[in-house]
């Protein structure tokens, strides 16, 4: 197993390098001269040349890329000129909040989606299956940002059950129960939208497994139906559900952008949206790169979990 993990880690390095190249190239799409944009009305030819030299923009693209990467590796993601602080500090601070939100949503959507998928497969074409299928359809068609607004309207405004925005109460908050109260609405909004896909694919995986010969063997052994479904069938289905959960990690990380905007959650997504409208390119670059690297690592974890579940994959 350790060699397998080491192998997967090594394989992730070129992927992350490739991602950094794409992010670098995307930033080269910026129309116009960055120095000009930075200087605004102070953009005399002299100043522009000086800034270009200072930022290394007078060098070739490959040179610029390697300088950029070398700086990244030393933890230097540049400075956000809007916030006037190092990009890395801001990103790390924001990313914590996003991880709480996305993590809670991922756990919720995995549990709900897997349960719904199993029940739906076991009662295929029955009423439970139809109800689950119906909710799956709503889930995958519902805009997360709209669902969030509806939740705010009902749970926060109409019934005054839960706070509508922020991560902590402004006065007297700050402890764990306070955080959880603030987390309920945004996390469930994000989870509901993500549950549909998990349920749909779990159902398909379970149906596939339930018609396998080894399920018949399990029944022929005289195991109870619950053992057959939850131990034998689900264990085998989980092997194909785990990569889906890895993909959903990306979905909740991305979806967090909407949810954080709707619920004023002080996370990376909200930061990115602001940074895009203020054209704070370095901040966008750093935020996207770090979030994406985390996503790559989550998928790596999913691969390892899959190999731990399925001895055939370890070889």
């Amino acid at each position: 197993m350790p060699t397998y993990i080491a192998k997967r880690l090594l394989a992730a390095i070129p992927v992350i390098l490739g991602l950094s190249i794409i992010v670098f190239l995307v930033m080269k799409l910026i129309p116009g001269d960055p120095a000009q944009a930075l200087l605004g009305s102070y953009a005399t030819p002299d100043n522009v040349a000086r800034i270009n030299r200072a930022l290394g923009l007078d060098r070739s693209w490959p040179e610029q890329y390697f300088i950029w990467i070398a700086n990244l590796l030393q933890g230097d993601f540049g400075r956000s000129y809007v916030l006037n602080r190092p990009v890395l500090d801001e990103v790390i601070e924001r990313f914590g909040a996003t991880l709480i939100l996305a993590g809670a949503a991922l756990v919720l959507c995995s549990v709900l989606g897997i349960l719904a998928g199993i029940v739906s497969a076991v009662r295929q074409f029955g009423w439970t299956d139809r109800i689950v299928t119906f909710f799956v359809l709503i889930g995958i068609s519902m805009p997360a940002f709209f669902l969030g607004l509806v939740f705010i309207l009902f749970f926060a405004v109409q019934w005054r059950l839960l706070p509508a925005s922020g991560m902590y109460a402004v006065y007297g908050g700050g402890d764990l129960p306070d955080l959880l109260r603030h987390l309920v609405l945004p996390a469930s909004t994000l989870a509901i939208v993500a549950t549909g896909v998990v349920a749909r694919l779990t159902r398909a995986a379970m149906l596939e497994v339930l018609r396998q010969d080894f399920i018949r063997t399990a029944r022929a052994k005289g195991l109870s139906e619950n053992t057959v479904i939850y131990r034998h069938a689900f264990r085998a289905a989980l092997v194909s559900v785990i990569p889906v959960l890895g993909i959903q990690a990306g979905f909740v990380l991305g979806g967090a952008v909407y949810i954080e905007t709707v619920f004023q959650w002080p996370g990376l997504g909200q930061m990115l949206v602001k940074a895009v409208s203020t054209r704070d390119i370095l901040l966008v670059q750093g935020g996207v790169l770090i979030a994406t690297s985390v996503y790559v690592l989550v998928n790596l974890l999913a691969d390892v979990a899959q190999a731990m579940l399925d001895p055939r994959l370890k070889a």
Binding site: I30, P143, V284
Partner: protein, 595 residues
């Protein structure tokens, strides 16, 4: 085995057109209807009697729905929401569909070229696609919009770009499978250029996949462009789509919720209608993706007998099957599979059940313990007596108590019949624990003993092996050890040696035979091979077309088969060194049968 051997082939069903098939799917039809309605209204926006969507009217701002002259009310600038909704839908549709078309165009091109060229081109292109997929989707779109600047067109490009990988991957997969087909080879030999082959031979065959991928992603793309607009990164005033309507109205969420809710519902209904339609299109174009009702796996075989047999049978041997008929649930009714099967089997005895594939042997074997699951089995008549007790009348829980305890099964292909993710020792121990109260360690020790008793060397260490780490013969020994776990009275072996090498076959048969003699087991051996029957069975029942056509002592039947079909089956056992003489000998036997 899933086909019914007794019913005449059903009259050829009339092939229905794609459109008819789509309409037969009620949900897809509803999706098409709603989507069509939305598209028509959006297209008619310029001629509909609605106010100018950009006409502001400050005194009449935030009017509720059903106000005079404003059916859906007005927004924060006093603009008519209905009018803005219709125009906004037009923009959202246009952007979503354009993004889909762009993604489909470039993604399909990449997929076609990569799949057709293979080699280095393929790896470079697909690595690039993988890189794009390694981003959490919306984040890459945001990075692109950040670089290009907020705007509807830039949002469209970003969404199209992040969706290219879906098309590239799907289309490459199909192209790879098509490029080596005969008609492509023929085109190549006829001197067509690669480009010509790609567009005239490959593309038409890939088109359904492109359509499926489009129909299943377009809803998502509309959702995402609306999302970017909602965040203020897409449509910029004065242009507005559904997303930006929602984004602007959000500031008045508490005072005028209708201004947010109406565009939100519109996005939802639009995307849902597209998803319904998309699923329908996928089902029509790719029937393999649809799980048909016939495949429905059921936990147990249903029992629907008109007359209940006697609950007990006086002085019966270990197993009595009396007039058993069973079939498959085909959705509307029951397709019969076996009819009026009767046989008896005593302790220490071996009965061979022989017939060609599709004759109903396995259905019979599985029906005894209600194990015909997929397609769902139905027992329509007859009874099964274990030690004189009718078991099909038992409650589910009691029947489960018998399975593996009194009646155990050994199945055909041990690679697929053992659970791939559990160690074999664990699987045997599990069978023990299902029926006996003992500790886990004790059960494991017993499992190792059982493995030794079926001739597995070094059993203690092999117990922790997974099925794929064992040879075919070892796996079948595990299957037998598992069957023996609770010292059953009856073992039903369903083609236990068919998947094995000939030499291994002989040893497995010897093992089963020895176990039967040592332990006084009643052995029901299902096979299609008279050689196997001759080797181990005391008696044999010959099945054909779901019925037993002949039954008796093995020696008698081998010496003097009564039924024509039995004669042919016996003749089909080749002798060593017979060579082509075998075919000459067998051919005339099958002439009249037309087989």
């Amino acid at each position: 085995m899933s086909e019914s051997p007794v019913t005449a082939p059903s009259p050829a069903r009339k092939r229905r057109g794609n459109m008819q098939l789509l309409m037969a799917n009620r949900l897809a039809a509803a999706g098409l209807f709603i989507f069509g309605f939305i598209v028509v209204v959006a297209l008619l926006a310029p001629v509909l009697p609605i106010p100018n969507p950009d006409l502001t009217d400050q005194p009449n701002r935030l009017l509720p729905p059903l106000s005079q002259g404003h059916l859906l009310g007005t927004d924060h600038l006093g603009r008519d929401i209905l009018s803005r909704l219709i125009w906004g839908t037009q923009v959202s549709l246009l952007v979503g569909i354009s993004a889909t078309a762009l993604a489909a165009l470039f993604g399909s091109l990449i997929g076609l070229v990569a799949g057709y060229a293979r080699g280095a081109t393929d790896s470079v292109l697909m690595r690039l696609v993988d890189m794009l997929m390694a981003f959490p989707y919306i984040l890459l779109a945001i990075a692109i919009v950040a670089a290009l600047g907020p705007g509807l067109l830039n949002a469209l490009y970003a969404i199209a770009l992040v969706n290219i990988p879906f098309f590239a991957r799907n289309i490459r997969g199909v192209t790879v499978s098509i490029r080596n087909r005969e008609f492509v080879d023929a085109a190549r030999l006829s001197g067509k250029s690669h480009a010509a082959i790609l567009f005239t031979e490959v593309l038409p065959n890939v088109l359904p996949v492109i359509v499926i991928t489009m129909s299943t992603t377009v809803g998502w793309m509309i959702l995402e462009t609306a999302g970017l607009s909602f965040l203020g990164l897409g449509a910029q005033p004065p242009t507005s789509d559904l997303g930006s309507m929602l984004g602007q109205a959000r500031a008045q969420l508490f005072t005028a919720p209708h201004a947010s809710i109406i565009p939100g519902i519109m996005i939802f209904v639009l995307v849902m209608s597209i998803n319904l339609l998309g699923d329908g299109i996928r089902d029509v174009l790719d029937p393999r993706l649809r799980s048909g009702a016939l495949d429905r796996p059921m936990a147990v075989t249903r029992i629907e007998r008109k007359t209940k047999p006697a609950p007990t049978l006086a002085d019966a041997p270990a197993l009595v099957v009396d007039g058993l008929s069973a079939g498959f649930d085909n959705g509307g009714g029951v397709t019969p599979a076996v009819r009026n099967i009767s046989f008896r089997l005593g302790k220490g005895e071996c009965l061979g059940l022989i017939g060609e594939s599709g004759s109903g042997k396995s259905v019979t074997a599985l029906s005894l313990m209600g194990l015909v699951a997929s397609p769902p089995g139905v027992i329509t008549a007859g009874g099964v007596y274990i030690e004189g007790q009718e078991v099909l009348s038992l409650r589910e829980q009691e029947l489960i108590g018998l399975r593996g305890a009194r009646v155990a099964y050994v199945f055909q292909d041990p690679l697929t019949t053992l659970h791939p993710l559990f160690a074999v020792g664990e699987q045997i121990a599990e069978a023990i624990l299902a029926h006996q109260k003992m500790g886990k360690t004790a059960a494991h020790a017993r499992a190792v003993e059982l493995m030794e008793s079926v001739g597995i060397r070094d059993a203690a260490s092999r117990a922790s092996a997974y099925p794929h780490e064992l040879s075919g013969g070892q796996r079948q020994r595990i299957g037998i050890a598992m069957a023996l776990a609770n010292e059953p009275d009856i073992i039903i072996a369903d083609e236990p040696t068919t998947a094995l090498d000939v030499t291994v076959q002989a040893r497995i048969l010897e093992l089963l035979d020895a176990l039967r003699r040592e332990r006084g087991l009643a052995l029901l051996l299902i096979t299609h091979d008279f050689g196997v029957v001759a080797q181990v069975c005391d008696r044999v029942a010959v099945m054909r077309h779901g019925e037993i056509v002949e039954q008796g002592d093995t020696q008698d039947i081998l010496r003097d088969p009564q039924h024509d079909y039995t004669k042919r089956l016996i003749a089909c056992v080749p002798e060593l060194g017979e060579g082509h003489g075998f075919l000459d000998r067998v051919r005339p036997l099958f002439k009249e049968a037309g087989a």
